[in-house]
Amino acid sequence: MLVATTVSSGVVVLVGAVFIACAVEMVEALTIVLAVGHTRGWRSAFEGVGAGLVVLAALVGAFGPALVHVPLSTLRLIVGGVLLIFGMQWLRKAILRASGLKAKHDEDAIYAEKVAELRAAGTSPGRDRIAFVMAFKGVFLEGLEVVITVLTLGTSAHRLGLAAVVATVAVVLVGIVGVVVAKQLSNVPENAMKMVVGILLVSYGTFWTGEGLKVRWPGNDTMLVGLIAIYVVVTWLLVWMLRREAPLVQREVVA
C-alpha cells in the first residue's frame, strides 16, 4: 500500500511537470509559427517546422540512447543540477511576474510583435528564407527545451517512455487547440502554468541532486511532495513580500 502510494506520487509529479512544461513550450512555438504562417504564407512556415522537427529527432536519436549508458548517480547529479538551475530561473520569473515587477508573458503582444517584425522584413523572390528561419528557430529552440525536459525527467525517474507519451499528448493537445482557436493562445494561463512548472522543476532538481550525491531522503520518493510544499510556501511568501512593497517601487517593469 505504502509502495503504491509512493510510486503514484512520484508518477503524478513527473506527469504533471512534463505535461505543463511541454504545453508551455508548445504555446510559445505555436505563437511564432502562426505569426509566420499568417504573415508570410504557410509553405515556408511548414518547411521551417518540418526542418526543425527533423533536426530535433536527429539530436534525440544521437544523444538519447547514450544517456542510458551514463551511470545512474552521475546522470541524476547532472540532471538534478540542470533542473535546479532551470527551475530556479522559471520560478524567479514567475515570482517577478506575479508580484508585478516583470511584465507578464502575453502571447497576443508577442504575436503582434512578430507580425510587425515579419512585415517590416519585406518580401524576397522565390522561397521565403525569413519565414523558414523564423519557423525553424521557433520550433527548434522551444522543442529543444521539451526534449531536455523529457530526457532529464524521464531517464532519471526510469520512466522515459511515460515522459515521452505525456509530452506528445501535451504538444498535440496544444497544437489542436492552437489550430482551432488560431490566435487565442493568450487564453492559456501561461504565467500560472510557468509558476507550477518552476516549483515542480526546482523540487525535482533538489531531489535528483540529492540522489546523485547519495543523500538518503526521508520517505524516499514521497519527499518530493514535501519539497513541493516547501517551494510553494517560499514562492507564496516571496510574492506576498514583493506585492507589499509594490507601491514603493511603483511596480516598475524590469526586462
Binding site: 530556479m88 530561473q89 517577478l96 532538481g205 517601487v249
Partner: protein
C-alpha cells in the same frame, strides 16, 4: 578581411550559445548557486552521518539562492 565560419563551427558555436543562455543567461547568480549547492552537499554527504544536515541544507540553500536572485531583480528595478 573577415572569413565566414564553416557550417560545423557555426553549429557547435550555436549549440554552445544555447547551453550558455539556457544555464547562465541573465541569472549567473543562480548558476553559481547551483555549483555551490552541489559542492556543499558533496562535502556533507561524503560522510554518512551528515545525511540529516544534507537533507536540510540542500533545499535551504536553493531557497536562499532563489530569494537572493529575486531580491537582486527587485533592487535592479528600484534603481531604474
Amino acid at each position: 578581411m573577415k572569413s565566414e565560419a564553416s557550417l560545423p563551427v557555426r553549429l557547435v558555436k550555436g549549440f554552445g550559445m544555447f547551453w550558455w543562455d539556457f544555464l547562465v543567461g541573465d541569472t549567473p547568480e543562480l548558476f553559481i548557486a547551483a555549483l555551490v549547492i552541489i559542492g556543499a552537499i558533496a562535502l556533507l554527504s561524503e560522510r554518512g552521518h551528515y545525511n540529516a544536515a544534507a537533507v536540510v541544507t540542500l533545499p535551504l540553500l536553493a531557497v536562499l539562492a532563489l530569494a537572493f536572485s529575486v531580491m537582486r531583480a527587485r533592487r535592479a528595478s528600484r534603481s531604474k
